[in-house]
């Protein structure tokens, strides 16, 4: 691989600073829970279904508890209590609490230990469910071939899950390795996950458990037909970050868009809420073997890609540190970045390559996820296709792991079937025609590419030093990332953040954190 010079000592300092930054946040995470986390726990225990208006039982249950100001005990506390009190199942327990008039007050003679015991076999079952899905995924994968890197990742986004399934199969036929179903525009601000299959969405399709199943089964079908395993991905992001992580885990998704800070910056979701939710979501993800894709690419849509390139790298160190704290191994960390420099700038291709190569080298075990040009795309679909071609070339040259393929209609609509077909064809051509280009040379140690790479590390180190000094809370408030400013208590969903009670009960988290023994299987 054509390498750029990387100062390993500076990289080590960046990592240490990022670890510090994450450690500071962890104290807040460990002291809190959120209604999203609790709904996830409920679902993991088997709470399912929704009422006639579409309100999921998990929401009704947690809202009841939250309304009574008892979220700090954890939904596990109440489910355990109901089970201990004789409920025949978790579902029955949940219904009793949500609708049946079960008290959500803490009684004087409450017995947390018994409640935990009542939950034990359900805790085991919850974990078994995740593990089984993982085993099943790994089995299927190893029975089929998998594509070569860069993996060709495409999106489908019709709004209608059945059309999505058609298009997902078409994408697989046309050579994609990974299919993402883009979410509907408004979903990340919904504080619940819709139920069942959905057929109406703007700019994408709702992420629901049933929709996950439909796509996975379509992809299983075509994977077997083609003899090539096609991966599925969706978004663990927004106000239901951890719930979706759990759904993805049990429905055998392969990847998830999941970022420690994206919701804060791009959806104006509360900072504390996001940090707490991302932690629990990642604990589940770590267990399930899913690969995350972080969202640093987005920074370059609001901030300038030449001037703010280092913010991407700095944020990747932070995302890595958070992921590490949640138990992910580097092989699960698909750190994100993007090809977003103004294409009309002289040597823009060199700058893109510099960053791509730098990130490839710094995060060498990580399945780096690379995003195509979007911001400078116009309606000139012909030219747009060429712009993507250069992105594809840079991808194979710098050996990116996951290449989200650009679409020539990027500035117009979510992709038509034809757009995606052509995008895949183009990537196939370029990945082949320039397959070993990166093996053919080293970048000159003092050239434009190398110097650009060095400058990015220097600036990232500087930025991380500042953030470590000021804390992430203050830094985000100052707008260091994506040119967006957010405050610690501002944004959506802050009301769903609750300090954990001393009796807080979350046996699933206990296992995921390795604090509780796992059931033998």
């Amino acid at each position: 691989m054509a390498k750029v010079p990387v100062d390993v000592e500076k990289v080590a300092r960046c990592r240490a600073l990022a670890a510090d930054i994450a450690r500071d946040v962890q104290s807040t995470i460990d002291a809190h829970t959120t209604i999203g986390v609790e709904r996830t726990v409920a679902r993991a225990y088997g709470v399912e279904g929704a009422d006639a208006e579409g309100t999921p039982l998990a929401n009704a249950l947690v809202d009841k508890i939250h309304g009574a100001g008892k979220t700090g005990l954890g939904v596990g506390y109440f489910l355990g209590r109901a089970l201990h009190a004789g409920a025949s199942s978790v579902q029955e327990a949940a219904e009793q609490i949500a609708f049946g008039g079960d008290s959500v007050e803490v009684g004087a003679n409450d017995d947390a230990t018994s409640y935990r015991q009542a939950l034990a076999k359900h805790t085991d079952a919850a974990l078994v469910r995740i593990d089984r899905a993982r085993t099943e995924r790994e089995g299927l994968r190893s029975s089929l071939t998998v594509g070569a890197e860069p993996l060709k990742y495409v999106i489908v986004a019709t709004g209608n899950i059945y059309d999505d399934a058609t298009q997902a199969k078409a994408a697989a036929y046309a050579g994609s390795d990974i299919v993402a179903v883009i979410r509907a525009t408004a979903q990340s601000l919904l504080d619940y996950v819709p139920e069942g299959p959905t057929t109406e969405g703007f700019g994408g399709t709702f992420a629901t458990q049933e929709n996950f199943k439909i796509i996975r089964s379509a992809l299983d079908e075509i994977s077997k037909k083609l003899g090539r395993y096609v991966q599925q991905t969706n978004y663990s992001s927004g106000l239901c970050m951890s719930e979706i992580a759990w759904m993805a885990a049990v429905e055998r998704l392969d990847m998830l868009l999941n970022d420690a800070m994206y919701g804060i910056l791009f959806r104006d979701i509360n900072m504390e809420r996001t940090f707490i939710d991302q932690y629990f979501s990642r604990r589940i993800i770590a267990r399930s073997g899913i690969v995350i894709n972080t969202g640093e690419d987005n920074y370059l849509t609001t901030a300038d890609a030449v001037e703010r390139a280092h913010t991407v790298l700095a944020s990747q160190f932070i995302n890595e540190a958070f992921a590490d704290r949640a138990g992910l191994v580097p092989e699960q960390m698909g750190l994100g970045h993007a090809y977003e420099i103004d294409p009309w700038i002289e040597d823009s291709f060199l700058f893109e390559v510099a960053q791509a190569q730098l990130i490839r080298q710094i995060f060498d075990r990580h399945p780096i996820k690379w995003m195509p040009p979007t911001k400078f795309k116009t309606g000139d679909i012909f030219h747009s296709h060429v712009h993507d071609a250069m992105f594809n070339l840079a991808g194979v040259l710098t050996n990116q792991s996951i290449e989200l393929l650009g679409m020539f209609s990027e500035a117009i609509h979510t992709p038509l079937l034809m757009d995606r077909y052509l995008s895949l064809k183009s990537a196939r051509y370029i990945f082949g025609a320039a397959r070993h280009l990166g093996d053919e040379f080293e970048w000159k140690p003092d050239g434009r590419v190398a110097n650009r790479a060095k400058a990015i590390v220097d600036e990232a180190l500087e930025l991380l030093t500042d953030v470590q000094r000021d804390s992430i809370w203050t830094s985000i408030a100052a707008g260091v990332f994506a040119d967006v400013k957010r405050t610690r208590t501002g944004g959506k969903g802050h009301a769903g953040v609750v300090r954990r009670d001393a009796l807080y009960m979350n046996p699933i988290l206990d296992v995921l954190e390795g604090r509780a023994k796992e059931a033998a299987r």
Binding site: A170, L189, F202, G203, D268, A411, L417, M418
Partner: protein, 251 residues
């Protein structure tokens, strides 16, 4: 046929050559080629040439067709409502603003569930667009950018409270025409609240043009590539015009 009657130009005046591409749910073959040809003919392409026919899924084929279109447009019949504003310089705007004797209050937002702030930021924020600073940077304006994901009700309320001369709405997501619905709903809300006439309504976004904006009840529409100066000039002129007509402006 007047000389204003335009036909497509391929490589000779009036040859009518156009390129059409599409997907049909049929597999490649002689039948498919014929189907594509007939499909193109239905659009008015004479002797269409199916130059690409490639299977794009287990059920679909992608086609590229070239043909000579029989259609044309009579441009003498086109009467577009061009934006009224003259092109003013920044200095001229600031001068006129001084004369006005007060700051023009503008309130902008990207509405509904649309989270695309870049466009409205480009117009309003100091930073601006293509090297040109936004309305925040003008002394003549008092600019408030409410950001993205702002509901119409909230926008109306804030604008009223701030005594806005102009409301600037950005709509980027256009799937199934949600931008039109969203924009029209704001207009209707203001009408219902009884103050539509007392405020300038501007709509912008990559799929917006003046004609569309006006059809949705807005005063003006701004498309891709708009620079802050154009918007500043337009608002200033309109405000001055209205000020002259009906004094004093309620606030």
């Amino acid at each position: 046929m007047s000389s204003d009657f335009l036909r497509a130009y391929g490589d000779r005046e009036g040859d009518g050559m156009v390129q059409l591409s599409f997907t049909l749910a049929i597999l490649p073959g002689d039948r498919a080629r014929e189907a594509a040809k007939r499909f193109a003919e239905a659009h008015g392409l004479k002797n269409p040439l199916v130059v690409t026919m490639e299977q794009a899924s287990l059920e679909h084929t992608y086609f590229v067709v070239y043909g000579r279109s029989v259609h044309g447009v009579d441009v003498s019949q086109i009467h577009v409502e061009e934006l009224g504003a003259q092109s003013l310089t920044r200095d001229e705007i600031e001068q006129a603003g001084k004369k006005l004797g007060r700051k023009i209050v503008v309130v902008g937002a990207c509405t509904g569930s649309d989270a695309h702030t870049v466009g409205i930021d480009a117009i309003l924020n100091y930073k601006g667009f293509r090297g040109e600073k936004g309305l925040e940077s003008y002394k003549a304006f008092d600019a408030h950018n409410l950001g993205a994901q702002v509901e119409n009700v909230e926008l109306a309320q804030r604008a009223r409270a701030l005594g806005a001369d102009a409301i600037l709405v950005s709509q980027i997501i256009t799937q199934r025409d949600c931008h039109k619905e969203n924009a029209r709903a704001l207009h209707d809300l203001l009408v219902q609240q009884g103050w539509r006439d007392r405020v300038l309504l501007l709509l912008g976004g990559p799929r917006i043009d003046n004609k569309l904006a006006r059809s949705l009840g807005f005063d003006a529409g701004f498309g891709p590539g708009t620079v802050p100066l154009e918007v500043a000039a337009y608002i200033l002129e309109e405000v001055i015009k209205r000020e002259a007509v009906r004094q004093p402006v309620m606030r």
